[in-house]
Point group: C2
Chain length 405, copies 2
């Protein structure tokens, strides 16, 4: 499932593309090294000659993708080796997110560090796609201004949406009531974006990719985004599993009780009706004020205070979520489930209930435990993953980036 | 997810393994050709030189993997080109299957053709692993005798079981009540197998691989095996998706009603309790005689005759199956679902009910229809796929086979 630059199955081995392959190889080695490696160390680790490595590193430094660190003085003979690291001044990614109850923008630099992030909490359902994306353009403008102050070049932007995306089109986002929306065309009406390339993807997919890069020791997992809607990103062997048409991961519409309450998707008894953010708030009796971030804080406070109704609401959500997670594990045999969105702060009250259903329903649970953990990137996983996805494209194929400068 | 012989991600390109790669390339080209190709045609299609192709073909013919067909006389000048085809006298695979209510053995020749198949219908639950595998050894002996009469060399055997397999161990087969059974050790007590290498895998996985090779135009699908238990094999881009530990595809334990009847797995309300073969037979009032093949024939006859109770039973199973299939499609975004085992002959009475649930529950169903079809290999998909898996190992890596002769 990885993109491979050379030798796809069945093709003869060719020389063309070798430099591109080796540039990516060097960049990957530096990105993954525990301490900044020298040219000699890169040569030893990759099997390339020192002359080849030096030429490649020179190109990567000139292209602002790598930076040379001032060597520490050392006691022994000879010139101390210069260490190489990803450049914090290299191309940066703009992350954008539309969710049902907030908008967000973030700037992620070439090292993967989040340099700026802004969030506006507001129910987007009354606004419609047009006004929502106008609002997001203004937020993006703030982020771009701050990136400019830092001297960063924005290489591209990625938009996370809670819906099904094909190409640049949002086919359907049930909780926003969007159908066949072209968000990039709407964003481009604002002058904010000028020549910045933009892409759009499902928010759980982008969040899952963000988590993958934030926790590289876990190459296979299911990321579950618990918002008003519930989505999942499936990561297998370090790559996103998108399905045949890119629509995988719709865990929010797993039926918990097939004849249960009606869902925005048109079906009945979907997981979102039992474990979606608003379903939990309603069951706990928390007032829905139009500021779901405040309602969520109230919910967590009531749970921490031991309010019985709140704890019952969370236990019910945990059982429903655990039933759906068991289905995912039985089908896909993943051993790690990462809970993000509003599930991240609520994990203390969800963890045991989810685990109980797994123990009941997963055939392999007795001898191969499933780990349930909160998203490392917390509730901002999607917007961070979106910005990160831009720089990953360059990290995976630096030759194309260098050739375009 | 394919095994690649050369240039795994991150490794420098090496010459070693080029012959092995090219042997597989030539064999794959011959296997996929519409008409038997000549050496010149193989050279043109693969980009290899004619001299290289001739040397490789000579090795493959000497190893009985390819055969040269007598050329048809032709009118033009020059020697007519010899066509090449997979050899029906090449190494053959022995497929074995233990299921809850039958045992089966099959011999699949190197072209993928089933040369012999035997089935014994008998409820295996009272027998236990030991006696079941003794019985299977005798069945295998019959198949091997017939293969010998045909002059076939058995390259290996693969055993399909309705349970979770890790390495050679069946961790659990709930409907057989097997736990931590080593079936290969038990089979090897019989002299039948002598030096034949044996492997074991989940029956739905082997059936899915069999279907993949029988219908090469459909590289992504979910195969659902409807027996007393219900399993699935997930095929993505022409390769089996096994999950982290090889336990993927346990669709039979998707909860349909989370508080429903107790299942053999220990949970409640699993799909098997609504759409498993015995659940359908019971709901239809067909007597369970210990010969489920006869009961199934009765069920189909009653359905064909329009018996109301039988049609209600099948409609209920179709709704439950459709609910589970919708979950699979929402999660994995597959566009084809293949129904095998007893579902293949029952498809006329399941099709509409499954489709109705998909239309109700799958978010993408309105604009990207899901195809539901019966297994091409019918109820023998698993044992055929098992035999086929042996020859696929040789087809994918002929160099190893040739070096061992």
């Amino acid at each position: 499932m990885h993109a491979r630059l050379l030798n796809p199955r069945g093709a003869p081995v060719r020389q063309a593309g070798v430099r591109a392959h080796n540039l990516a190889l060097v960049l990957r080695h530096v990105a993954g090294a525990a301490t900044p490696p020298s040219r000699a160390a890169i040569a030893a680790a990759t099997g390339l000659t020192r002359a080849t490595v030096s030429a490649l590193v020179d190109d990567l430094v000139a292209g602002t993708l790598l930076t040379e660190l001032t060597p520490a003085p050392r006691a022994g003979a000879g010139r101390p080796a210069v260490g190489l690291a990803l450049s914090p001044d290299g191309p940066a990614g703009l992350g954008l997110e539309v969710n049902v109850d907030y908008l967000s923008a973030a700037v992620v630099d070439f090292t993967g560090h989040v340099r700026h992030r802004v969030v506006r909490h507001l129910d987007q359902r009354p606004a419609g796609a047009d006004r929502t994306l106008q609002h997001l353009s203004r937020l993006a403008g703030e982020a771009l201004t701050r990136a400019g102050t830092d001297g960063l070049t924005i290489a591209g932007g990625a938009l996370a949406v809670p819906g099904l995306v094909t190409g640049d089109l949002v086919k359907v986002a049930p909780n926003l009531d969007w159908r066949d929306v072209d968000p990039i065309a709407l964003l481009r009406r604002a002058t904010t974006f000028k020549d910045i390339p933009l892409t759009v993807d499902n928010e759980a997919n982008l969040a899952a990719l963000g988590e993958l890069h934030a926790t590289p020791g876990t190459p296979t997992f299911v990321y579950i985004s618990g918002e008003i809607g519930i989505g999942a990103g499936i990561v297998v062997d370090g790559a996103l599993f998108r399905g045949v048409r890119g629509f995988s991961g719709e865990i929010g519409h797993i039926p918990v009780h097939p004849d249960g309450p009606a869902c925005r998707c048109g079906a009945r008894g979907c997981l979102e009706q039992y474990a979606g953010q608003e379903a939990i708030l309603r069951a706990a009796g928390v007032p829905l004020t139009g500021r779901p971030d405040e309602s969520l804080a109230t919910l967590a406070a009531w749970a921490a205070a031991g309010d019985a109704t709140t704890l019952t609401a969370l236990a019910g959500a945990a059982t429903a979520l655990g039933t759906a997670v068991s289905t995912v594990v039985n089908l896909l045999d993943v051993d790690t489930v990462i809970l993000g969105g509003s599930y991240a702060p609520l994990l203390p009250w969800l963890h045991d209930g989810v685990n109980l259903e797994i123990a009941r329903r997963v055939l392999t649970a007795a001898w191969t435990p499933v780990t349930i953990q909160a998203a490392t990137l917390g509730p901002s996983a999607a917007v961070t993953g979106a910005g990160d996805s831009v720089i990953r494209t360059i990290r995976d194929d630096p030759a194309t980036w260098l050739s375009r400068r």
